[in-house]
Amino acid sequence: MVGALNAALRDAMQADPRTLVFGEDVGALGGVFRVTEGLQDEFGSGRVFNTPIAEAGIAGICVGLAMAGWRPIAEMQFDGFSYPALDQVISHVAKYRERTRGRVAMPVVIRIPSFGGIKGKEHHGESPETYYAHTAGLKVVVPSSPLDAYRLLRRSIDDPDPVIFLEPKSRYWSKEEGELATGGPGLGSARTVREGDACVLISFGAMVGRCLEAATALAGEGIECSVLDLRTLVPLDVEAIAERVRATGRAAVVHEAPLTLGMGAEIVARIVEEAFDHLEAPVLRVTGADVPYPPASLEQHYLPSTERIAAAVRKVVAY
């Protein structure tokens, strides 16, 4: 996935000379995850540059650069270090278009390596998606696979509105065969990555892969699950969610973030509003716990496991 994201940045920078890439360590080092590797050599230190360690500053200069006609692509080094930028993101990046009565767009992408599962230190396993999804004016994108990461990042960079692009760190080293392409489903479209009529597992990011593992295990028991990869949390593809629930009558939502007020709460509410009459069982949530992200030795107890996902599916199927 790192290579796909790197290619997306390179191709976007070649396609549009107004794009800029900046953040902490994105220059000679190529970013701590190497997503920006080689870009400074290719595009120069004018378009690819290190910033001081100043996340509010990084988000804030996005606003000024966008006003000056540039397309900023900023990197926050880690999820847990992105919080100082929240004021700039919430108060300006998200609101500028509305505040200026539509006159000033914010074609800004803020990439944030996010989520857990890499046995990281504290502050390196955060799931910040709800903070952003709850902020009107932002689009929130979470890729689950390398090819889709390429497509989604290209589409995010081309988008006229600000996009928070949350990269699942645990999938950075995942591989996928295929051709990098920008075509196909864009922002706001979920995709069914596995068909099955017993239940739909609704997820995003790294947990899509875990849902697929659970679905494979369940298939051995004769339970065929559908897996829906949301891809973007804003816009949320409510119609795809409702369609899958209508088709299966049963659903479980899977994410890494804590249970309470996570995306699962929103998705279940949408299901109730849109497909209540089709439900054969309560919708379950398989999520992280309502605790700070735990130390490495405990993260397997925090993250949704294949077993916990499978158990939830068995429960809704048996209801």
Binding site: G60, G64, A68, Q88, H92, Y96, R97, T100, V234, P235
Partner: protein, 355 residues
């Protein structure tokens, strides 16, 4: 208030409070341009007082007055070139006037008919009114970096207050401006008060002195001396254009009025302090200077007053005829292409009706 005497940063001053010239008053301004500075300050003060009245009459929601700060704003804004870009906070109506921002559109913000950017920020080179304290300084640095990358030769100017300089965003902006060599002017209007907190409780060393720590010049200027403000801002803009990077200007001025129409300043400051600053009024000072130099006569001042009356009456009339925008507009601008979930919310509230 004893900031001026406590400062170990010298204050740039050209004209004393009584109008006496104490510095080089050849700042590159023609006689007409000097007259224009006075005319601008007179009409801006008249507008400011009108806005206070409009709020009391229920025509504006809340209004933050700038009386006493006319020289700081008019002097600095007049020193910029048309292609430069201003990033205001929320008290810079006088700067907006100088930059040619449509005043009725600007005041929509205080009327509550739209948010911070009701005018065209790009066309007027004046960013949206910015309430989150100090955040606009970072925007100005970003814009300046963009101008530098474009090689446009333009600079940005961020207005902020003494209270804003305590925010982390001030520091991040100043440091980034220095590191990037951004053509930005960080213009602090030190008006002595952050709502009720006096400057003495806000910082322990002159704000201008911080610039040395970032690696660029910091200048303290008499913010009620319009010529001095013009001169230092002009010099900072020339530095920026010349590729020499940012400048911090700390204009020592005073907020004669309350923080806003919602504030009661009698709870935290005494009348004599305000009266002492009235004695240093920027308009009276510059008028005395121009009269003393025979650059204007009393008739000119009278004509300015009269012209300001007519101008403000037009603004008042334009403003009071402004109603709420169509409710549907609330849904129009959050996204370039509103998501289906948002379109549904629009429809549920107002159907297809546009009112």
């Amino acid at each position: 208030m004893s900031i001026e005497t406590a400062a170990d940063v010298p204050i740039v001053r050209i004209v004393d409070p009584d109008g006496t010239v104490v510095g080089d008053d050849d700042v590159g301004l023609s006689v007409d341009a000097k007259r224009e500075l006075l005319r601008s300050m007179i009409r801006c003060r008249r507008l400011d007082r009108e806005c206070w009245a409009l709020q009391r009459q229920g025509e504006l929601t809340v209004y933050p007055p700038f009386e006493g700060q006319e020289a700081a704003q008019v002097g600095s804004a007049s020193a910029l070139a048309p292609e430069d870009f201003v990033f205001p906070s929320f008290r810079e109506l006088a700067a907006a006037v100088v930059r040619g921002v449509d005043v009725v559109e600007y005041l929509q913000y205080h009327r509550g008919t739209w948010h911070g950017g009701p005018y065209d920020p790009i066309a007027s080179r004046f960013a949206p009114i910015c309430v989150p304290v100090a955040t606009q300084i970072v925007h100005a640095v970003g814009w300046a970096l963009g101008a530098k990358l474009d090689g446009s030769g333009a600079c940005s100017l961020a207005y902020f207050g003494d209270g804003s300089a305590s925010e982390g965003d001030f520091h991040e902006a100043a440091n980034m401006a220095a590191v990037f060599g951004a053509p930005a002017i960080l213009f602090c209007q030190n008006n002595g008060w952050a709502i009720s907190v006096p400057a003495s409780e806000q910082y322990a060393a002159p704000i201008a002195a911080r610039a040395a720590g970032y690696g660029f010049p910091g200048i303290r200027v008499d913010g009620n001396d319009v010529l001095a403000v013009y001169a230092v801002t002009k010099a900072a803009a020339e530095r920026a254009r010349g590729g020499e990077g940012p400048t911090l200007i700390e204009a020592m001025t005073y907020r004669i009025g309350a923080h806003s129409t919602a504030d009661d300043d009698s709870r935290y400051r005494a009348g004599p302090e305000v009266d002492a600053w009235r004695e240093r009024d920027p308009i009276a000072r510059f008028r005395a200077y121009l009269l003393g130099c025979d650059l204007i006569d009393e008739a000119f001042v009278g004509a300015c007053d009269e012209e300001a009356e007519g101008w403000v009456a037009e603004i008042r009339s334009g403003l009071t005829s402004l109603g709420a925008p169509p409710a549907s507009e609330m849904f129009d601008h959050a996204f370039s292409d509103p998501p289906a979930t948002l379109e549904r919310q629009r429809h549920e509230r107002i159907g297809n009706d546009d009112a």
